[in-house]
């Protein structure tokens, strides 16, 4: 090596600052990309869930005899940045596959990138239906129950009520629009006479709650379908409760029961709403669900969120896939993920469907009540995605030909 070349190398290295992690090859590395700062409230429990699973996996001898390791990187919620980091994780850090993202658009960018470059991407939390349907590809798998599935569960419950006229309120972006469209389609199918009399679209985290409540009240709907979450939800619930919007009206709330959104509401949680969520406080002793909650609480020092469960299942899925593949090249891993079955997870057997690479993780549905000054889900059940999905043929028609 000439001196010049060595200097150039040094310069190049200094420029890009290759992380020191690149040296050790004894571990199997997974590239984890998330919005740790921008969505800290969601990403933190998710990361702690992964950490718990990793501890269990590695205490039990790791995968293929090697410890499993996650490399966490922050993409600032920017899809372009996520794609850049993904490249670095795969080509420089020696990651064998990619996972992560909460925001759907980042998930979609990573999915497209994985397909183009021949990597494997497990979308943990993004909810967008198109991730495995309209924009699906063979390199992308998705863990969490999609918007469509959860909306269909609420629509099923709504169809049982007497309500005929509905108002919807959803944040004005792809997720909110998909959630409203999915609810409408499922409800119309079950109960063709329903009518949607008002559709409200506040900007994400910029809700003008008083005005939204007035606008919905003006339409005098029999029932309301809510997709707002986070601070929008808090403001909407406050204004709506104060102004009597929810009096005598059934409300169906997508994700409203998730601890991420329910806990901040405390004693102002909207009683009587039928919601999807995660009732970690209500599991019975001796169930795998309860065992996970206890283990997580002990490990993380806080009660679990839905993100904790997703993070935990993400790491477990990946470990299972690598074990099944017996190798870490992308093709073997993809083959392993197709039809992968993981028994004994907190939600029972978890599988990845061959038809659309979607996992069989379902959702908890129930009714919000207030106990001890806190909002909780009561009368809840866990529902798998079966029966809430389009038919296999419909899905095949949606997925681009490969």
């Amino acid at each position: 090596m000439t001196l010049t070349r060595r200097m150039m190398l040094a310069a190049a290295t200094a420029l890009a600052l290759a992380p020191a992690a690149a040296m050790a090859q004894e571990t199997i590395k997974i590239g984890e990309i998330n919005h740790y700062k921008r969505m800290a409230a969601f990403a933190d429990p998710y990361k702690k869930g992964i950490e718990l699973a990793l501890k269990e996996i590695n205490d039990a001898g790791g995968v293929m005899g090697k410890p499993l390791e996650f490399i966490y990187r922050d993409d600032q919620g920017d899809p372009a940045e996520a794609v850049k980091i993904a490249e670095e994780l795969m080509t420089r850090d020696g990651a064998v596959m990619l996972t992560g993202s909460i925001l759907s658009h980042v998930g979609l960018a990573l999915s497209s990138f994985a397909a183009e470059k021949g990597y494997l991407y497990l979308a943990a939390e993004p909810l967008a239906d198109s991730l495995v349907w309209g924009s699906g590809n063979k390199n992308t798998f998705r863990l969490r129950a999609s918007t469509w599935i959860q909306a269909a569960m609420l629509a099923e419950e709504a169809a049982k009520s007497d309500a005929v006229t509905y108002a919807t309120i959803a944040p004005n972006y792809a997720y909110g629009q998909d959630a409203v469209a999915a609810f409408k389609e499922n409800l119309k199918r079950l109960k063709p006479e329903v009518e949607f009399v008002a559709e409200q679209w506040p900007g994400l985290f910029k809700i003008d709650a008083g005005a939204e409540v007035q606008a919905i009240e003006r339409a005098k709907p029999d029932a309301i379908y809510n997709v707002t979450f986070g601070t929008d939800l808090a403001k909407f619930v406050r204004e709506g409760t104060d102004r009597g919007l929810f009096d005598g009206r059934p409300v169906y709330g997508l994700l409203t029961g998730e601890p991420e959104y329910l806990e901040p509401l405390a004693d102002e949680a909207p009683e009587g709403w039928f919601v999807t969520g995660y009732p970690w406080y209500a599991f019975e002793d001796g169930t795998p669900e309860k065992a996970f909650v206890d283990a997580y609480t002990a490990d993380a020092g806080e009660t679990p969120k839905i993100g904790s469960l997703v993070g935990y299942l993400t790491a477990k899925s990946i470990a299972a896939a690598i074990e099944k593949a017996g190798a870490t090249d992308t093709d073997s891993l993809i083959a392993a993920f197709e039809g992968l079955e993981i028994p004994d997870t907190p939600i029972g057997t978890l599988a990845y469907r061959e038809v659309d690479n979607q996992s069989t993780m379902g959702a908890y549905v129930g009714t919000i009540a207030i106990e001890d000054g806190k909002g909780v889900m009561v009368d809840w059940t866990y529902k798998g995605p079966d029966g809430y999905m389009p038919t296999d043929d419909e899905i095949k028609a949606m997925r681009p030909a490969e």
Partner: protein, 619 residues
Amino acid sequence: MAFLFAQFLTGLANASSLFLVASGLSLIFGVTRIVNFAHGSFYMLGAFIGVTLMELLPGHVGFWGAILLTGLAVGAIGAFVEMVVLRPIYRAPELFQLVATFGVILVIQDLALMIWGAEDRLGPRAPGLRGVWRIFGEPVPKYDIVIIAITPFILFALWYLITRTRVGVLVRAATQDREMVGALGVNQAWLFTGVFALGSALAGWGGALQLPKGGADLLMDFNIIGAVFVVVVIGGMGSLPGAFIAAVLISVLNVLGVTYLPQSTLVLMFVVMAVVLIIRPYGLLGREEVAGEHGQVGAPETPIRPYGTTGQMLVIALLALLAALPLFADRFLLILMIDMVVFALFAASLHFILGSGGLVSFGHAAFFGGGAYAAALLVFHTDTPMELAFLFAPLAAGLLALGIGWFCIRLTGVYFAMLTLAFSQLVWSLAFQWREVTRGDDGLVNIWPSPWLSGTVPYYYFTLALGIGGILVLRHIIHSPFGYALRAGRDSPRQAEAMGIDVKRIQFAAFALAGVMAGLAGGIFVFSKGSVFPTELEIAASFDALIVVFLGGVKTLAGGVVGAGFMTVAEDWLTRLEYWRLVLGLVIIAVVIIAPEGIVGSLRRLWTRLRGTDEEALQ
């Protein structure tokens, strides 16, 4: 009728918090000429400090006392920020301070996360004010009525302060004519600190007062800043009554929009701002900006020259190094370099109109993202071959710039900046909301280059040729008669007009050219990432470019490129850390204080000083 009245009350209640925050920003701008991006952060701090104090202090007295104390606390923080961060850089080139305030945003974000944690806080209820009163049968929350009643008192107190006290006289004098304050024998530094503290306190009160209607969370700084700037601009920068009228106008229109046009929530206020600025270029109650008011402070720009032999050699050596990079660098370094070149071209295109033209655009991402979207839409919907679709990126961005420029160019200074911001928001909302075509924020995916370019190395050379080529073209044009005419119009529009130069037309052409170049960067970008999302059109994307241009040095030719390179590397490095925003924020603030003329400008000064030469050496 009763319903309409109830809606009007809702609008008024919303206006109160908005007015408080906006009046603070307007005061700060009026006196110090600082465009304070960190104003939303003071609002957020107000909310968090308010929640904490309300938990500590019980009862009626505790609630209102907590609000009062919150303002004082945030005011003190504001004074600290002003003294430590802003005071050293008042003599920096125009608008440079906004980079420092951007650093402050980052620092406050991470500090808030450390102190209060990630979870949203629901605001405590005002004691005794839960529930509604019925007005003409319509329910109106009690707290709404109370803050509607409070706001006029606050407005009156501010009005009294500004018009009836000595401090107010000084503030007004400073707003009208900064030189005069010095002539009145007033310590300008003290006045600036005081005004900044007052403005911050107002933002803090705004954050605390909205608590019973909402809460505190870590995204509220960014979520309010757009609306606050809109209100200040519509009202007229520096005008308190204007801010009040605009806050009411925007809030009431928003309420009506929610009811009668629910899809309008994203853009309504930006449409209103664009319309107001087109009809009244200085806002409702603003006054015309005096030319050069944004401080032709700082050293004047030195005459430009193409690099001498040494400089040319260095550039050639650098280019040779870049060309040889694939021989020894790994794939990721090439990817990083592609990102860097794309960002550098984007920044250079903004620097072209900002540096040579004096046109501060807050909406330049519209052309970068616009170009990316133009190419992506063709590929996505019509399967246009990449080579052809790519050409549409600069073309469409240029046409977009012609359209937007036609409205914006007639304005100047901050108002020009805000109108470009409004238009870029309109473009953003088009991409965001027109889902049938753009797929909204699901974005356009699978936009990959043709097979012959799909490898990292070929695409690297493609980027190098077009990206560096674009930068060199821009650089050449700066040295051409057209570039000189642009600079002439910036230095002295009156003299330029008096020697036959149609300043506005020259600026219009430059604006379009900058759009073309930003679009070119967007085209390279979209095929390197394979997807494009509305994030590329966001305000944040425009500000990224703005910040690197200032950081690199406005009054230098290489500023944009160097700033972009610096930022790409710094970000790539720092985001690996747990509290990277804190560190990045501090790095930005440090650079701003150490190098008030930007990185390149300050290096050049240092170089000149080291060589011990006078101005003749710069020839």
